[in-house]
Amino acid sequence: MSEKIIVFDSSTLISMSNVCILDIFRKLKERSKIRFVIGPEVKKEVVDDALKGNRFKFSGLRIMRLIKEGIIEVIGNSQINAESQNLLNIANRVYSKKRSNVKVIHRGEMESIALMKFLKTDMLACDETIMRLFLEDPEELNSLLTKRLKSKIVFDKKIHKQFMNGIKIKVIRSVEIAAIAHQIGLFEPFRDIVFRGSAQTLKGVLWALKVSGCGVSYENMEAYVKELVGK
């Protein structure tokens, strides 16, 4: 089986660590040749920032452990750095108001895209709605900005096209990863502990990911539960 690579944004790791389902990475890696990759900026956000205080320290340590074990790789170099900055410069010119750029994106988020280009993969795990909209439906993001900011925000399609540069990015979230984990039986130990344990577990995990920050709607979660466990 050929190697597959998926780049993670910090949002997905944060959700999964908060819900204590990071073990999924270990199990998925045992199952197939998949590389889970993050950039140094993401590592800083999910580990270094968490270790600075006490509240999220253990959540950060859980991720650090996966890095130490080689389950999650941290990859960075000058080429990725340069491309991150280049992408950031373009991305923050996509939206504007009266000739002032409305900057929606951070360098760390661009590092994930630069890393994808460097590793020649099209798979990104990102729980953050705004980032996903920027990549997949920038016009919808423009509508959201205009409506919520109560200001006419201008979207430059040409600059966005320059940013995307012909690449197609496939984005999944922690809820999809959890759904896959459920499908391959990783939540099996919970099946018999309560009535309809399978459905309850899946619903519980999806909701826990949602309240931990994964951008997912109630309807989407209900649809997954219905598809995977009947109702």
């Binding site: 998949i34 108001k97 994106i105 729980d127 953050e128 919808e140 999809e176 309240v211 920050g213 951008g215």
Partner: protein
């Protein structure tokens, strides 16, 4: 410096000064939302600092238990805030944005210099204000990474808050299909 931005800041500061005098807590809170639009569009430190401070002030001044427990410190703090706000208004009326920032920063210093327990309480409120305002900026279309950097908070803190908000963006992509293809898992 955008003229509209200065006008917005002046309007907010004048209104908040009036509400602080009147102890109109809900009024103060509403006006922190008013400045968040400017904060999100311009992402300038003045709007952001003002939005966070004003929200924090609404929580500090609205905390009746704390007012009773730290009566002396609270009254000193309120007097100082009103002095700072008055000077801030003066600077904005004269389009002196640096002077305005100095006064707003001074309110933060008042928090740091207060009695240790009072200061700790105010510090917590200030951090909470950043997270609340940050979640609103995210709701208005800015990524969490950018907000975390602007406000000096972590994505961890922000995600917890954002998770409690309703997600109403329609989902048009079959992400489960993408995930299944990637992980080599068949349809149910």
């Amino acid at each position: 410096m955008d003229k509209k931005l200065i006008k917005d800041l002046l309007q907010v500061t004048q209104t908040v000064e009036k509400f602080v005098k009147e102890n109109n807590i809900s009024g103060i809170k509403n006006w922190s939302d008013h400045i968040i639009h400017s904060a999100t569009i311009y992402q300038d430190k003045y709007s952001i600092k003002t939005a966070v401070l004003v929200y924090a002030l609404s929580n500090i001044l609205g905390d009746d238990r704390f007012k009773i427990k730290f009566k002396k410190e609270f009254n000193t703090f309120k007097k100082r805030v009103l002095t700072n706000l008055k000077k801030a208004i003066f600077y904005l009326e004269h389009k002196n944005i640096q002077g305005f920032e100095t006064e707003m920063t001074d309110i933060l210093r008042a928090i740091a210099k207060a009695d240790a327990k009072f200061s700790e309480h105010l510090g917590i409120i200030l951090r909470k204000a950043k997270i609340v305002k940050g979640s609103w900026m995210h709701h208005h279309g800015i990524t969490m990474g950018r907000i975390a950097k602007l406000l000096g908070i972590t994505k961890w803190e922000l995600m917890r808050k954002v998770g409690s908000m309703k997600e109403d963006i329609p989902e048009n992509i079959d992400r489960l299909k993408i995930a299944r293809e990637f992980f080599g898992v068949k349809n149910v």
